[in-house]
Amino acid sequence: MSIDPVTLAVLKGRLEQIADEMDATLFRSAFNPIIAEAHDASHGLYHATSGETLIQGKAGLPIFVGAMAFAVKAVIDKAARDGDLADGDVYIFNDPYDGGTHLSDFKLVRPYFRQGKLFCWLASVGHWHDVGGNVPGNYNPVATECFQEGMLIPPVKLYAAGQYRPDIVAILQSNSRLPGSLYGDLNGQVNALDLGIRRLDALLADYGDAVVAEGLAELRDRAARLMRARLADLPDGRWSAEDILDNDGISDRKLTIALDVEIAGETLTLDFSRSSAPCAGPLNISYATAVASCYVALKHLFPDVPANAGVLDPIRFVIPDTTLLNVKAPKPVGGYTETILRVIDVVFQVFSRIAPERAPAPAYGTINALSLAGHRKDGQRWVMFSFFGGGHGAHAGGDGLNHGNAPISTATIPPLEILEAAYPVMFRQWALRPDSGGAGKHRGGLGAVYEIELLEEEAQVFLFGERGTAAPPGVLGGGAAARNRFFYPDGEGMAEPALVSKLNGLKISRGQRLRLETPGGGGWGSPAERSEAAVARDRALGYVTKVQA
C-alpha cells in the first residue's frame, strides 16, 4: 500500500458524502412517497470493469447495497456486447433477473469517464409508483409470470453520448397508470447522477485520479480484512435453521427457506440448497436479490462493516437454481420483499446461536403492501399504496422496538393525515397491538393495528403480506410473536382471506372497513427470566393483557 492512512480516511469520508448527497437529492425531488418518504432508492459508485460496489449512500434502502453491483454488471455486459459505450450515456432498466429486486425498481446507470477512459460507474435506483401490470402499485399477489407484474425494460440508453432520448420516456410513460409521477421520479434520478458527476470531478481535481483509484482499491481490501476479522472471532462449526412463507399466492402450500451455515476460520458459507423449489406465484427472487438480502442480514449483525464489495470476499454463497431463491425470467418476483425478509430471519435465527449478543430475534417479517384504488366522482383515478409497520425482535440488550420499519428498509410511514387529505379514506384506528410481541427475557416489540374506512362509493383492495400462518419466532427460548391478520367486510361480519395475508382486487363500498393487525417481533431468551418489574410495567401500560402460559 502506498496511499497514506490519513488520505485514505479523508477520501473515504469525501466519497461517502458524494453518495449521501445523491440520495438526498432524489429524496427531496422525487414525486412518489415511496422514494420521498420511504427512501426506497439508493445511489453509489461502482467498479469500472466488475461493477462491484465501491461506495454506497447510507440513507438509501439497505437491500440495494448488495443488489446494485449486479445491476451495474448487467449494464457493463450490455455495453460490451454492443461495443458502443460513450461518455454521457445513461442506461435505464428494471430487469430484476440481472439487476435484482423487482420490476418497480428502475435503475439508471451512468459511466464516469476521465480523459477518455472509464473511471467508474454511478448508479441510481428508485421504486416507481406504478410500472403497469395487472395491479396498481405492482404488488400482484397472483402473478404467475413477470408480465403480469409490470413492464420489463432491459438496459437501454436514456441518454446516448449526452443526447436525451424522449421516445424512451414516452414508452415508459405509456405503460404506467401514473405517468406524471414516473416523469418526476425519472428526472430526480437524472439530477442525482448529474450531481454525482460534478462532485466526483471536484474530488478528482483535489486529489488526482491515481490517488482516488488507489484509495478505492485500498478501501475494498480493508473491507474484506474487516469482515475476515469479524468471522475469525466466531467459533467454527455448522448450524442450520428453517423458516416458512405462508404460500405463493396461488395455492395454499407452505414454502421453506432453509439455511445451512458453516464457519471455518475466516470464511463463512451460506447454503440455501434445502429451500423450496421455485414457486408458481411471486415469492421467487433472483440470485442477485438473494445475495443482497444476506448482505443486509450480515450488516445488521456487524454494523461496522462498510457498504463495499470487499465484505463479500470471505463469504461463499450456495444458492442453486433449483430453489426459489435463484429464478430466471419469466418467473414472477414481485413479492421479493417477503422472501428476503424470511432469508434475513433465518440468518438471525442461526446467528442467535453462534453469537447471541449480536443477533436480534426476527422482526415482524412482512411488508404488508396494501393498495386501495378507485375513481373519484370526476372520474379521476386514485391509488393509495403503502407499507405498514410492525414490531422489532428482542435482543440481548433489551425489548424490541414497538412499530418499527422493516430490516430491509429505512422507510417511514406517511402521516395518516396526509393519506386522509390525499385519498377518500378515514382511519378508524392507528394503534399499537397489545400481546403481539413474543414473550421472553426480553420481549419482542409490538406490532400495530390499522383500521381504514372507505369514503368514496367503491374501491378495489389488494394486499400482499406474509406471516399470516407462521408467526415470527423467538430465539434462545423466547416466544413467537402474534401472526399477521387482515379482515375485510363479508356480509354482516368480517372475514379473513383464504390465502391469509394476500388479497387480489376485492371490491368494497362506502362505509366499509378494512383491518390490518401486524405481527410484533420475536422474544429473546426464556420468559421465565423476565424481571418482575418488566412484567408489571408491560401490564400497567397495556403492552401485555393476557396471562402468560
Binding site: 480484512r225 414497538n402 396526509i418 378515514m426
Partner: protein, 679 residues
Amino acid sequence: MSEQRFIVGVDVGGTFTDLFFLDEASGACDVVKVPSTRGNEAAGFRDGLGRKLDRLDTVATVVHGTTVGTNALLERKGAPCGLITTAGFRDVLEMRRRDRPETWGLKGSFVPPIPRDLRVEVAERTLADGTVLEPVDTEAVKAAARDLLAKGAQAVAIAFVNAYANPANEQAALAALREVWPNPHVTVASDLLPEIREFERTSTAALNGYLQPVVASYLERLDAGLREDGFAGDLLIVQSNGGVMTVDTAKERPVRTALSGPAAGVIASAHIAASAGYPNVITCDMGGTSFDVSLIAGGDIALAAQTAVDFGLVVRSPMIEITTIGAGGGSIAWVDDGGILQIGPESAGSIPGPVAYGQGNDRPTVTDANVVLGRINAERPIGGKLKRLDVEAARAAIEKHVGKPLGLDAVAAADAILRVANARMAGALRLVSIERGYDPRDFAALPFGGGGALHAGALIRDVGLKSALVPRYPGVTSALGCVIADMRYDFVHTINRQLGQLDAAALAARAAELTAQGRRLLARAEVMFTAEDVVIEADMSYVGQTHTLAVALEAADLDDAGTLRGAFERAYLKAYGRLLDGIAVRLLNLRLAVIGRRPKLDLKRLAPTGTGSIAAARTGSRPMFAAGAWADTPVYDRLALPVGAEIAGPAVLEQLDTTIIVEPGQTARVDDFGNVVLS
C-alpha cells in the same frame, strides 16, 4: 428610582454562565463568566449579575438563553404530562413515523415522553376537509382530565386527528377541561401548531406539556429572584428560532426554547459578520462532544422546520438550522479493525475529558492531538480549573491507540488525528454550503465557543472558504447574541390546496390576521423596537411530490395564483435546475413571522482602543507542529493586538477563552471591530 440603563445577555451553558453587559448610557460593554449551577441555574445567573452590579434597578432588560428545556428533554426530566386524544389514536405518539434509531443493528428502543397509561382517548372526529364528523364528548374530556390528575399528571396536552383543518373539537375540549384542570399547564396542539402531520404535531404538543411545569417554575423562580434583587425591567427568553419572547409566552410555549442556547450564538455571529462586512458566513461551534455549524447567507440565518432533540422526540417549530457532527475536542480517535483511522462518535466529554486532563480517560482525543502538537498551551488550560495539561500522557495515548496500529510515531499520529478531524468538520461545512448550492468561495467561517479557532485555519483551506472571522470574545458569543436578538413570533397555517383551487383572497386575509396577531404580541411585550417586519413563506410543491420547498413571498403576492406559481418556479429552478411542465402546483402551508427589531449594538464598542503594538502583544514563543514540521512559533496576547495589526503564520494568538492558530502561509489581521480575520 435609578435610571434603567443596562441591557444584560445571559447564556447559561453546561459549564459556564456567560453574561454580557451593555451600558446604554455610556456605550460601555463588559463580560462576566461564572460557573454554572446545574439544577439551580438561577443561582449562577444571579451570582453573575452580582459580580458587575450591586443593585439590579439599573437594568432595563435581561435576555436569557436557557438550556433548562433542552436538558429536561435530553435527560427525560420533564413533568408527568397527560395526553387527551381521538379515540383510536392514543399510540400515535409512541408509534412515531415507523422509524428506528439506527439503520443497522435493530437494537434501538424508544420511551415516549408521555407513557401509554397517561394517554386517554375520547370520542370525537374531524375529517381531512375540516368537517366535524363527531363532536367531542366533553363529559369524557372532564372524566379523562380527572383520571389524569389522579394518576399524577401535572400538565396536559390535547391533540386530535385533523384538528389542523378545524380546531373546533379541540377548543370545545379545552373549554371543558378548564372546568376541572387546576393549573395553567394546558397545551392545545392545533393552537401551538396548526399544521398537517399528526405525529409531529402531537409530539410537539406533548413535549410542550412535558416541559411546561419545569420551565415555568424555573422562570418564575428566576423572575422572582431578580425582582428581589431590585430588578424592575423586562426579562426576555431566547427561542430556538433566534428571536426572543416574553416570559409569559415562554411559560406557555416552553418547547420553543429547545435550542435556545445555541440559537443566541448564531444570532450574534450574524450581527458580528454583517458589521464586519461578511454577509455570508458559516458559524462553527466546537464543543466537547460535537461540532455545530449553521449557514448565514446574505445576512439571513437558515431556519429548519423541525428537529429531533433525541430519537422520536420531534419538535416542529421554526428553529435555527444547526447541523451537528460528533467531532468535538473530546471525541475519541481510534483505528478500526480494517485499519482506518476514525474520530468519534464516542467522546470523553468534559468529564473525564481528554487524556491530558488527567481525570481518568486513557484514550486519545482531538484535544490531546492539539496538545501534543503544541497548538494548545499546556501551561494555561482554558477554563482555569486545571493547573496544567499532561502532554506526556496525551502523547503516550496517541502512540498506543493510533500510532502503533498505523505504523506512525506519536507526532505523525497526532497530526493524522487532526487531519481526519478537520476532514470531518470540513464535511459538515460542505454539507451546509456546497450541498445547498452555495459556492464556498463566497463564505467565511466564523468560529465561536472555545475550540473552533484552533481548527478554523485548516478548515478554510480544506473547504475553500475565503477566510475565517474570529470574534473578539468568541467565548461569550451566545451572551452577546441575547443582547441583540430581535423579538419574533412564528405562525403556520395548513392550506393544502392546488393553486387553481385556492381562494387567494382568503389566503391574503389569513396572512393579514396572523400579522395582526403577531403585532399585538409585540405590542403587549412593551419592548422598544426600531422596526417591525413581517416575513412570509409558503411550503409549496408540484402536485404529487411529498417534499415541499419553502418559497419566500411578499404580502402582495398572496392574492394572485399566477404570482404564487411564478415564485414557486423561481425557487424550484434554483433548487433543482429544471422545471416540470404541465404539472399543477400545490400550496401546503402558509408560514408567517412577525419580527420586532431591537436596537443593535455597535460592535465598534468592543474594538481595541489605545496604542498597543504587535511587539508589545508578543508574549513569547513555543514549538508548534504545522505543515509537517516543528517550528518555534511566536505567541501573542490576542486582546493586546491593535486594530490593523497583521501577523503572518505560523503564529498562535491566545486569549482567556480560546486559542487561534495562524497556519503557515496564512495571515491574521485585526479588523476595525477587533475581530481577527484569517486568510
